[in-house]
Symmetry: C2
Subunit: 322 residues, 2 copies
């Protein structure tokens, strides 16, 4: 099987490629070739013949080049993230809407039937919310990023319905714990208050302990992508987009999990610096979902925050807490 990963140099993309290389297969089918693309040239893993190059998906003709080898499975992870798509209206629409549409059009023009796995986001939802957000709740994004992801979902469903490809859209929870340096994303603190203390560093908490949000680990996200790649799509019917399972947890619950894994010393590194701007943004975000469809289809996320922290300690810290 030939697998194309668009957005292969991003955090999830790199983990996905590493996992495919380690397994040598996806959904029980041997992977014989990888094509990896991103705005920066992705790194080829060892063990699988790989072509990797840098490309701008929104430039005409670029998607066709990626499809030249008619990949059987296409992961479309490339996106301008939430904060940047809000700050740069044109760039967000160019990559997240035009780029996605150019890819889908190139697949249609190539006249074959690959599986397409598209990463959407819970940013397609916007407050006010019911107590739990069900699988039939409408999409009312409160950001341009969420709007672009919603449009991607609609296109994916229509192109699948028309028989141009076999698509599955997965709405990722907030990924926690994001490895790497702290960033300025409004959601950054959900990872920061765990990642930094686990490394012996101070972290800022800008919201009250009572804030609840919907999380899954990077490892779970890779699991969602691989499960979507091998999924029998017949039971999906025309509804090709799925809210992924996750863990609803308050900041207080995150902190108690940190205490159990790394002790009071780690918790003491969290500094409370309330930030009205961040609080206001977070108020519009989903808290908890009832992701029945995805669960029935076999998608799995972590059940406790202790597990989410343990995944980080294993995958990023070589099993050691500072």
């Amino acid at each position: 099987m030939h697998v194309l990963v668009i957005g292969a140099a991003g955090m999830i993309g790199r983990k996905l490629v590493a996992r495919i290389a380690a397994d040598g297969a996806v959904g029980g089918r041997k992977v014989s070739k990888l094509t990896l693309v991103d705005v920066f040239a992705p790194t080829a893993p060892s063990g699988i013949p790989t072509e990797a190059w840098a490309a701008d998906l929104a430039l005409p003709g670029e998607a066709a080049k990626m499809l030249a080898g008619k990949p059987d499975l296409i992961f479309h992870l490339a996106a301008i993230v939430s904060g940047e798509a809000e700050a740069d209206f044109e760039k967000g629409y160019r990559i997240n809407l035009d780029g996605t549409r150019l890819l889908f059009e190139a697949i249609r023009a190539a006249s074959y039937m690959p599986r397409v796995v598209f990463t959407s986001s819970i940013a397609v939802f916007g407050a006010p919310f019911p107590e739990k957000i069900g699988d039939e709740f409408h999409l009312t994004p409160l950001t341009s990023y969420g709007t672009q992801k919603s449009i991607g979902e609609l296109l994916l469903a229509d192109y699948s319905r028309r028989g141009f490809f076999d698509g599955v859209g997965i709405r990722l929870p907030t990924i926690c714990i994001r490895p790497g340096l702290p960033n300025k994303a409004a959601s950054g603190f959900f990872s920061g208050i765990l990642r930094e203390p686990l490394a012996g560093k101070e972290a800022i908490l800008p919201v009250p302990d009572t804030v609840m949000h919907w999380h899954a680990s990077p490892r779970a996200a890779v699991g969602f992508l691989l499960h979507a790649a091998g999924l029998d799509t017949a039971p999906l019917g025309a509804r090709r987009n799925l809210t992924m399972p996750g863990l609803a947890a308050t900041v207080a619950e995150q902190i108690e999990a940190l205490r159990r894994v790394a002790g009071d010393k780690a918790v003491a590194l969290i500094r409370r610096v309330p930030d009205e701007t961040v609080m206001k943004i977070v108020e519009g975000w989903p808290r908890t979902f009832d992701a029945k469809r995805a669960e029935a289809l076999g998608f799995r996320a972590e059940k406790t925050f202790d597990e989410i922290i343990r995944v980080h300690v294993e995958d990023e810290l070589g099993g050691k807490v500072a």
Copy 2:
């Protein structure tokens, strides 16, 4: 006030322009100028200074020409209809998605704050449905037309949220009784079984009497557009798209209303010719809604099918039944 109507030569567009010309005002504000555009040059009404021309909204630069006079109020009714958008994939996306986006982009570039009223459709919804479709039910269109309208709604909401214009999207019910000649739209029979017998002609009924659907008259549709034009949008928040009220009626109820208005002789002109293809299409369509939000905002539709028929007899038949 300067009013631009895009799609002014269509059935609803012509009725809207006639009503504006008759009233001389919209939402209590005097109309001093009309700009009318469609693929065929619309007819100018008497009494209001009017510019009218034929244009293809999907050609670059055309939307900017329509906005040259900075119209205060823009009705965007132009669309490739459901059947044609399904038959011609590229044409549907070109007009319904690219055309709409080019219009919205042109307004953004013009840097002012017009009211934009966009006609969406209940085709944004697809089966399976709950008993009544509420205001928070997700959009799962089963046609490319419905997909394109859903995307138009999302763009309208995002452009409004970003402050590029002040948009209201209205999801029209099936318009009944459509005047004019019978057409091949799958929904054509809902109008045909009334319009044709009222004119003394035979009509074909391809589905069982038990089929229920969601209707409003052309006059009600014009009323929705004018109400949306004058609406205080503050209570809408970020949710700019509204399911319009309508009348849920079975085919049997339509026929009984016809009997009350035009007698057994008219009903006898309906020929039952079951059509599996039409039945299959109609199965995926919405039956009934709970359009609470729009009703609370003052949108009004007919309450009985007798009323819907009476509107047709008054507006199209000069008050006379054949």
